[in-house]
Amino acid sequence: MECGIFHSTYEKDMALRHTPIEKARLALVILFLLIFPFVADNYWLNLANTIGVVAIGAIGLNILTGFTGQISLGQGAFLAVGAYVAALMSIHWGAPMWLTIPSGAIATALIGAIFGIPSLRLKGLYLAIATLAAQEIIIWVITHWDAVTGGVDALNTKNYLWFGGENHYFSEFQFYWIIMGLAVVVTLLTVNIFRTRIGRAFIAIRDQDIAAEVMGIDLFRYKMLAFATSSFFVGIAGALIAHWRQIVTWERFTIEVSIFYLAVIIIGGLGSVSGSIYGAIFMVMLPAILNNIGKALSGVIPTMDILIPFVQQAVFGLVIILFLVFEPEGIAKMWKNIRDYFRLWPFSY
């Protein structure tokens, strides 16, 4: 808590933003989000949309892993559930997007809750293995249940605005608004969950589950709820991928994706909504930046050209390690430190 700020009412105490500077910063971010699509080309819009989708998925995972302390390696498969449900509904029933996206989310929430059942007995690494099973089982079902999912073949998602409408092709610009709109809604919902009884119960379970139970928190119910809420948001991200890319294949939802999302929230900041967003920006932008550096360097030293892709991968790993070494609590903490530094600047203690 910052010194010099006193809350005289409960409303003020509960506010998400306390100072005029915080409010101004938020206004700047909103302004940037509104102006950005009009000045960016399709490549930057594509990156922004990727960040948006990853941020939604990462917020979902952070609810489970960062806030409730239940590690999950099933993220990739849960994304797949959302994507396949949305794609199949649009293909077979001609269902419009405003129906497929929430349906994908609800289906993922149900599946997530089912695979969350072992969490009552299992903790830590053991739970990680149980969720790894979820990952493998779901992908196995998708690739082998040919009659429904089409097996390993890709599904071509249709984007309908209404039942019986025409397949609508969205540009990156149009999808920007859908993705960012949903990202804002998911962010607001999540921030608010942690101002309620449910959110505090999640945090209590993470900090000490036995103590939480003694305090009267129904562990089974709240762990299930954490899995369901988390998977719901992950399902939104999955369904968005289906409609935005218009093609769904299991290759996009492998175990590597699960680990990627864990990396996003660890680097961004466990147990922080804004951290999920910073992590998404970082993990999407870093390879793109490295690609551009590699592209600029190619041809400079011709004999080095063949090494560039390998150097790129090594640098990617190195940067992540450096980040974790310098600030294990993630970018969210780093940002907080910078803020604190400038708050007192130039007269620090």
């Binding site: 080309d41 390993v152 890709a154 092709y169 890319r245 294949t249 996009r252 930046i289 551009n292 892709p309």
Partner: protein
């Protein structure tokens, strides 16, 4: 606080480099003609992806030294994407929107299939190293062109040979398809199944798990099926592992193994360490480097201190794929049309009849109703560590559903 300054400094440097990298901007009317490309140099198919990419790059360098296309230089804007679909989408989007490439040379099945909608929307003529029959569906992939014989057609060519061979030996063919666990691997499986059902012989497929170091369980499964012919749809490293395991099980003596094009290469012979002897390969691209079409690549590599024997047949394959695309662009320019409109290049390619690759493949012919430029392959056999042709061109062109 010191570490923050350090971090801020590192970040600043990185961003400055990015800004410098992005500063280039799109190509003007008289700048180089830009062609986009995706390479797999570090991913699961890098073993064959690297020589193929070298072939594409080599062709462009050779062409530019000769004066480019009608005096205009060609720039190949390409990078490694590690066989990742997301990475492919990002690079594709960057090359098309920022670099303004006029055509594209791709690689994998999964990523090309994922991109085909965008390719159609952006009107970018696209030649992938994937010969999946899904990419020949004109309603879904109107800008994709296939230089190689489709995997499905290769499969039919292989199965027809199997039927003839089994009839000679007086046995009932029992075919098992071992395939890469991906859209690439699965691509020819259903069409092969249909052919087997129509001709009444036993047929099944077994996936080769990614990263497997031992395929004995899968081979045992095939043994239980009573297998006598195996068709492999995988890259060389996977196929070589399969053969080594099969040899230690004693399967190679009474089972005929047949590679489709991505494992029928020199690398397979090298990696299988003798276990590949007697294996057949369905090869749309020749491994014979005495044909006229291999002369330019061989001389070019020699001038670089390398050799075609070292790079292998996928080098020639990449070389001639790039050459076919460049020919389409050249014909568009010769006709006085604007190459920035992909529809014009597509029209030139669709008008291409019997384009000679110097006997590297059968001459390439596209048409407005079929983008399969090639429908033939010679069956080769590994004899004394060399691929030797044992048939002339065999042909198959099954209908695209």
């Amino acid at each position: 606080m010191k570490k923050f300054y350090l971090f801020a400094a590192v970040l600043l440097v990185v961003f400055a480099m990015v800004l410098a990298a992005c500063g280039g901007g799109g190509g003007g009317e008289e700048g180089p003609i830009k062609i986009g490309a995706l390479f797999d140099l570090t991913g699961p198919t890098a073993d064959v992806g690297t020589p193929y990419a070298n072939g594409e790059k080599g062709f462009v360098e050779w062409l530019n030294a000769k004066g480019g296309i009608n005096g205009r230089q060609v720039e190949l804007v390409g990078q490694d994407y590690a066989y990742k679909v997301d990475q492919a989408e990002q690079l594709y989007s960057q090359y098309v929107n920022q670099d303004k490439v006029v055509a594209f040379l791709g690689w994998g099945t999964g990523d090309t299939e994922a991109l085909r909608g965008k390719i159609a929307k952006d009107k970018i003529p696209f030649m992938s190293a994937s010969y999946s029959i899904n990419l020949a569906k004109l309603d879904e992939a109107p800008y994709n062109f296939l230089v190689g014989t489709t995997y499905s057609d290769q499969m039919i060519i292989a199965l027809k040979w199997v039927m003839d061979d089994a009839a000679k030996k007086g046995v009932d063919p029992k075919v098992v398809v071992f395939h890469h666990d991906s859209p690439f691997g699965e691509s020819p499986v259903p069409d092969g199944k249909k052919f087997a059902d129509d001709n009444g012989f036993a047929y099944t497929n077994i996936a080769m798990p990614k990263g497997a170091t031992d395929l004995t369980p899968q081979l045992t499964q095939a043994q239980d099926f009573g297998v006598n012919y195996v068709v492999i749809q995988n890259v060389s490293s996977g196929a070589a592992l399969l053969l080594k395991n099969a040899k230690s099980l004693g399967l190679t003596d009474n089972v005929q193994f047949i590679c489709l094009n991505w494992c029928a290469d020199e690398l397979f012979i090298k990696l299988s360490e003798g276990a590949g002897e007697g294996v057949l390969g369905v090869m749309p691209f020749t491994s014979d480097f005495t044909v006229p079409g291999a002369k330019d690549p061989a001389e070019f590599l020699k001038s670089k201190g390398d050799s075609l024997e070292n790079q292998g047949l996928h080098y020639v394959q990449g070389w001639w794929t790039a050459a076919t695309m460049v020919e389409g662009i050249k014909r568009t320019l010769d006709a006085g049309k604007d190459i920035n409109d992909g529809a014009n290049i597509r029209a030139s390619l669709e008008a291409m009849k019997n384009f000679s690759t110097g006997d590297v493949t059968k001459p390439i012919t596209f048409s407005p109703t079929d983008h399969r430029g090639n429908d033939s392959a010679k069956i080769h056999q590994v004899q004394n560590g060399q691929w030797v042709p044992i048939t002339d061109y065999l042909q198959s062109r099954i209908p695209v559903e």
